[in-house]
C-alpha cells in the first residue's frame, strides 16, 4: 500500500529518473562500442576475412602472378587426395605427432612430479627444465644438428665409444622423423612441465592427508587416488596443446631437412608453405590449409567435449 502511495505521489520524478538511466545506459553502450571498435575491426580484417578468403581461394585455380582465375569447384580437394606428396605429408605429420605427444606429456608430468616432491634445488631444476621454452628453436635446432652430425657430432662419438655405429640421424630417411621428434620432445617437455607444476600447486594439501587417513600409504597410491584424478583437466589440456603444437611442426623441418631426404620429413605446414609461398599455387595451398584448419578445429572440439563431460572434479 505504502509503496503505491509514494510512487503515485512522485510520478514525474520517477520517469525523469528512468529516462536519465536509459540515457546513461545508451551512452555507456556507445562508449563500449567506441572502445571495442578497433579490436572488432581488426578481428574482421585480420582473422575472419582471411579465413573466409582461404575457403574461397580453395575453390579456385588462383596462382600468384596470374591475374585471372576460375572457380573450379572441389577440383583442388580431389587433386589433393591423389597427390602423393600431400598423402606422405599427412602420414609423416601423424607419425611425428604420435611420437611427440605421449613422450612429452608423460615426461613433462614425471619431471613436474619429481620437482614438486624434491625440496633440494627445486628452483635450480625448474630453471634448467624451463630453459628450452625461452630459447630460439631455430638456433637450438642448429645445435641439435651439430650434436647429431654423423661424423663430427658428439652423440655418435659417444655411441662409438660403447661400440655402436650411430645412424646418420637427420640424413637418413629411416631416422629423420625420429630425430625431429627428439627435438620436439625436448622442447615441449619443458612447456608441459610448467603447466603440470601449476596444476599440481592447485591441488589442496588436505586431500593427501585425507587419502592417507583412508589408508593410501604408498606414494603410488596417493598419486593414483588424488594426483592423477585431480590433474585430469590439466592433463587433457596439456595433451591437446601438445597435439596441436606437434601438428604445427615447421621450424625444425625448415631449418634442418626441408622435407628431405626423399620427402621422409615432409610435414603438413612445410607442404603448405612450399605450394603456397614457393610455387605460388595459392588455390591449391588454400585447399591444404582448409584441411589443416579442420584438423585443429576437430581437436579443439574434442577437448571441449571431454572437458565438459568427464574431467570435472571441483
Amino acid at each position: 500500500m505504502r509503496e503505491i502511495a509514494t510512487t503515485s505521489l512522485l510520478p514525474d520524478n520517477r520517469s525523469v529518473a528512468r529516462q536519465a538511466a536509459i540515457r546513461a545506459a545508451k551512452r555507456e553502450e556507445r562508449v563500449a562500442w567506441q572502445l571495442a571498435a578497433p579490436a572488432i575491426t581488426l578481428i574482421i580484417v585480420l582473422i575472419l576475412l582471411p579465413t573466409l578468403a582461404v575457403f574461397i581461394f580453395s575453390l579456385t585455380n588462383y596462382e600468384l602472378g596470374y591475374d585471372d582465375f576460375q572457380f573450379i569447384g572441389l577440383d583442388n580437394y580431389i587433386e589433393l587426395f591423389g597427390d602423393r606428396t600431400f598423402l606422405i605429408s599427412l602420414k609423416n605429420t601423424a607419425i611425428y605427432t604420435a611420437i611427440v605427444t605421449p613422450f612429452s606429456v608423460f615426461i613433462g608430468l614425471g619431471v613436474a612430479l619429481l620437482i614438486e616432491g624434491e625440496t633440494r634445488g627445486r628452483a635450480f631444476f625448474r630453471t634448467v627444465y624451463f630453459l628450452p621454452v625461452a630459447s630460439l628453436l631455430v638456433a637450438m635446432a642448429t645445435v641439435f644438428q651439430y650434436l647429431l652430425h654423423p661424423t663430427i657430432g658428439p652423440v655418435n662419438a659417444m655411441l662409438s665409444m660403447v661400440g655402436i655405429a650411430g645412424p646418420n640421424w637427420l640424413g637418413s630417411s629411416s631416422t629423420v622423423l625420429l630425430s625431429l621428434a627428439i627435438i620436439g620432445i625436448w622442447q615441449s617437455v619443458s612447456f608441459n612441465m610448467v603447466l603440470f607444476l601449476a596444476g599440481l600447486t592447485a591441488i589442496p594439501r588436505d586431500l593427501y592427508a585425507a587419502a592417507e587417513v583412508d589408508g593410501a600409504k604408498s606414494s603410488w597410491e596417493r598419486f593414483r587416488l588424488v594426483t592423477w584424478p585431480m590433474l585430469g583437466p590439466t592433463t587433457l589440456f596439456v595433451t591437446t596443446i601438445s597435439v596441436i603444437n606437434a601438428v604445427k611442426v615447421f621450424e625444425t623441418v625448415k631449418t634442418l631437412t626441408e622435407g628431405g631426404p626423399n620427402k621422409s620429413s615432409e610435414v603438413l605446414l612445410w607442404t603448405i608453405y612450399q605450394e603456397g609461398f614457393v610455387f605460388l599455387r595459392v588455390g591449391y595451398a588454400s585447399a591444404m590449409t582448409v584441411i589443416f584448419l579442420a584438423f585443429l578445429i576437430v581437436l579443439m572440439l574434442v577437448q571441449y567435449r571431454v572437458l565438459d563431460k568427464r574431467v570435472h572434479y571441483t
Partner: protein, 278 residues
C-alpha cells in the same frame, strides 16, 4: 634427525632429476663449447668440452661479419615492440568494455574471441600475403608486425583479469568525473600490471622466436628477424663452419635466455598463465 640412507627414494629422485637436467643442458653446454673451438678442433675432438686453443673471438667476429647481427637483433626488437604495443593498446579497451560496461554485443564478441583462438597465423597467412603483395608492402616492418596487431588471446586474458577487479574502483572514478577512456588509462592499466607483464612475456617469446611469418614476407637481410637471419647465415656458411654457426646461435639465443634468468618467477608465471588459455 633421521639419517637418509644413500640409496633412499629421495636420493634416487635427486639422481634422476640431475641426470635429466644434464640432458636438458647438454645442447647449451655444447653450443658454448663449440662456439669457443677452432675449426680443426671441432673436426678432431668432439667429446672434449674445453678447447685447447680458444677461438671464441674469431667465431664471434665471423658471426658478426657474415651477417649484420646487430641489425637482426634490432629488427627483432622493433618488431616485437611494435606488435606488443598495438596488441595491448587494442586489446585492453575492448576487454574493459566487455568486462565492465553495459555492452549488448559482449556475448557476440566472446564468440568472436573464441573463434579467433582457433585460427592460427598458418591458416590466414595466404590471403594476408596476397593482400600485402598486392599493395606492395612486403619486406617491411609493417608486413612483419601488422598481422599480429590483434591478439584475441590478449583480449581473453585481460577480460578474465578485469572481471575480477572490484566495481567500486570504477564507480569511484566515475564519480570523480573521469571519462571511460581516462578510467582505462589511469585506473585499469595501473592495476593490470600482472596481466600486462604476463602477456608481454607470452607475446615477445612467441614473436621473437617465430620463423614462419618472417620467412614468408621477408626476402633480404635488412628486415630479417633473428631466426630468419640465422637461416641466411647457415646458407652463407654452407652449414659446415660449426664454430661460427654456434657463435651466431649463442648471440641470438642469449637475449631471451638472459631475460628469463633475470626474471624467472615472472617468466614462469607468465607462461603458466598464458599456457592455460584453453
Amino acid at each position: 634427525m633421521r639419517r637418509i640412507p644413500l640409496f633412499s627414494m629421495r636420493n634416487l629422485r635427486l639422481a634422476v632429476l640431475s641426470a635429466g637436467a644434464l640432458l636438458f643442458l647438454a645442447p647449451y653446454i655444447w653450443m658454448i663449447s663449440t662456439a669457443a673451438k677452432s675449426r680443426e678442433e671441432i673436426f678432431s675432438s668432439s667429446l672434449t668440452l674445453l678447447p685447447q686453443h680458444w677461438a671464441l673471438w674469431e667465431n664471434l667476429a665471423k658471426a658478426f661479419s657474415r651477417v649484420p647481427m646487430g641489425q637482426l637483433l634490432l629488427n627483432g626488437l622493433i618488431v616485437c615492440a611494435l606488435i606488443f604495443f598495438f596488441q595491448v593498446v587494442i586489446a585492453i579497451p575492448c576487454a574493459y568494455a566487455m568486462a565492465k560496461l553495459k555492452f549488448r554485443a559482449a556475448q557476440t564478441m566472446m564468440t568472436l574471441v573464441m573463434l579467433g583462438l582457433l585460427i592460427p597465423i598458418h591458416a590466414t597467412a595466404l590471403p594476408i600475403y596476397v593482400a600485402l603483395n598486392k599493395v606492395g608492402m612486403l619486406n617491411s616492418y609493417f608486413a612483419l608486425s601488422a598481422p599480429f596487431f590483434i591478439s584475441v588471446f590478449g583480449i581473453f586474458l585481460f577480460l578474465q583479469f578485469f572481471r575480477a577487479m572490484p566495481d567500486d574502483l570504477i564507480a569511484a572514478a566515475r564519480l570523480d568525473g573521469m571519462s571511460e577512456l581516462a578510467i582505462v588509462n589511469r585506473v585499469i592499466v595501473p592495476n593490470a600490471w600482472p596481466a600486462v607483464t604476463a602477456f608481454a612475456i607470452f607475446s615477445v617469446v612467441a614473436h621473437w622466436n617465430d620463423l614462419f611469418w618472417p620467412l614468408i614476407v621477408i626476402t633480404g637481410t635488412e628486415r630479417a628477424t633473428p631466426p630468419l637471419g640465422l637461416l641466411f647465415f647457415r646458407a652463407a656458411e654452407a652449414g659446415d663452419d660449426y664454430g661460427a654457426l654456434m657463435a651466431a646461435t649463442l648471440i641470438i639465443t642469449l637475449p631471451l635466455v638472459a631475460a628469463f634468468l633475470l626474471a624467472q618467477r615472472r617468466f614462469i608465471e607468465g607462461i603458466t598463465l598464458t599456457g592455460l588459455k584453453g
